[in-house]
């Protein structure tokens, strides 16, 4: 089986597993919602303040949510003893990562899109005029988060204190994603919105670098 077809099959499996229980999506949505509400107490969410601090808090909420959401990614395989079967089923172990990271990106993107209108209403930030560009940033940012997160969740699944370990390993690694996506979002939510292409290029660089590293070293993460 080629990389593409095995990835597609595995992606189908990931999506099916999630949509049967919908556990990850519902908990993540509620988590982001809670963070958005709690953040409103840390500053005065007026029109101008929201534009300055909103993007940062939105991305922090996404990052925290992702570090929790990516937890079961490999843990589930481990608990059900399905990792070996998964390894045997495909010739290229990169397909496992690819399927998982695409699924994670889709889940993250889905929750982000769901939360965007809530954020816009609660913090009085108009998002409709820049919706397309926002979605592009969301996609590139979530892809970066998923690439690094999928790789690290394979590590944390096999360690003690794994619930604490994944955020600990993941969050410092994601600093560049947080900085770049926040900057681009600040520009988009400005009174006169503008697109910071440099930030977007930076996100693409991050995604490409980490995807390459995962492609080169991913198979070692799945060793028994």
């Amino acid at each position: 089986m080629s990389l593409l077809s095995s990835t597609t099959v595995l992606l189908g499996k990931e999506l099916r597993t999630e949509f049967r229980s919908r556990e990850l999506l519902t908990t993540t949505v509620v988590f982001i919602l809670m963070v958005i509400v709690l953040f409103s107490f840390t500053f005065d969410p007026t029109y101008s303040e929201s534009r300055r601090f909103g993007p940062g808090l939105l991305w922090l909420a996404f990052l925290f949510a992702a570090s929790l959401m990516l937890q079961p990614c490999f843990l589930r395989e481990q608990n059900n003893d399905t990792l070996s079967a998964l390894r045997l089923s495909v010739s290229d172990p990169f397909a496992i990562f690819l399927a998982k990271l695409v699924a994670n990106t889709l889940f993250l993107l889905f929750t982000e899109v769901l939360m965007l209108p809530v954020f816009a209403i609660l913090y009085n930030v108009p998002v409709l005029p820049v919706l397309g560009q926002l979605l592009l940033v969301f996609f590139l940012g979530s892809l970066g988060v998923s690439i690094a997160g999928t790789a690290l969740s394979a590590i944390s699944a096999q360690a003690r204190m794994r619930e604490l370990l994944l955020p600990l390993l993941l969050l410092p690694l994601l600093t560049p994603v947080l900085v770049a996506s926040t900057q681009v979002t600040v520009g988009l939510l400005d009174v006169s919105p503008f697109m910071e292409w440099k930030g977007l290029g930076f996100l693409v660089t991050f995604d490409v670098v980490f995807l390459t590293v995962l492609w080169l070293f991913g198979e070692y993460l799945l060793e028994e």
Binding site: A148, A159, V213, Y220
Partner: protein, 227 residues
């Protein structure tokens, strides 16, 4: 005999460090605007370079471990990471001591300060990860892989923060035109760096031997349990 040699090497390293301190206090000229406080520069910059060298050694050891699977590379990587973390801690402490009188603030979220802090955090997590995986081979492999991710992340962290906020003085070393050091300052700086590298080698060797002994002990215990 072996013990004597070690003591001799350690004595030489401490003499070098003493000479570097003498150079920083008495040989290097006083900086015109900052005054004597600038002399911390020789400790700060030399430690920063040495810390980076240690992390680079750690990265090389990580890559070699993944491909060769010899425990020596794992021992080297943990020694380098720990020593690098110590030097980076010196950088993070000596920086604010200098910054307070010169900038008027202890800390600013500038590219180099922030990325050094994140570098410190990443390697602290690297060491933490090692304590949380029991099985030696798996611990070595996972920490090596995380080390590779972490090291490659550092330039990205630096780039991202540098583009969007910065206050650290323009690089005096390999900076643009108008920046530069007095020739004596250069000499003292390089000598301090050399002394720090010697200290790094000394510490790393001691740590490596300790880790090797621990690794062998672990292996013997494993065999004993199997019997």
């Amino acid at each position: 005999m072996h013990m004597k040699k070690q003591v001799l090497v350690a004595a030489i390293v401490f003499l070098l460090l003493g000479a570097a301190a003498y150079g920083a206090f008495f040989v290097a000229p006083t900086e015109r605007t900052m005054g004597p406080i600038q002399r911390i520069f020789y400790l700060h910059v030399a430690s920063a370079w040495t810390g980076l060298c240690a992390f680079f050694i750690c990265f090389i050891a990580n890559v070699l471990y993944v491909f060769r699977r010899q425990p020596q590379w794992d021992w080297l990587s943990i020694s380098a990471a720990e020593v690098g973390l110590v030097f980076t801690t010196v950088v993070l402490v000596s920086g604010p001591i200098w910054a307070h009188p010169v900038w008027g603030i202890w800390w600013t979220w500038d590219a180099r300060l922030t990325s050094t802090f994140i570098l410190w955090l990443l390697y602290a997590c690297f060491l933490l990860l090692r304590t949380l995986v029991e099985e030696p081979d798996r611990r070595a492999l996972f920490s090596a892989l995380f080390g590779i991710f972490a090291f490659l992340d550092v330039p990205l962290v630096f780039g991202s923060i540098r583009w969007w906020r910065t206050q650290h003085p323009q690089p005096v070393v390999m900076g643009g035109s108008g920046s530069g050091l007095d020739p004596t300052m250069w000499k003292v700086l390089f000598f301090s760096w050399f002394a720090m590298l010697a200290l790094m080698a000394l510490l790393m060797r001691a740590r490596y031997l300790m880790e090797a002994a621990r690794g062998e002990l672990e292996m013997v215990r494993h065999e004993a349990e199997a019997v």
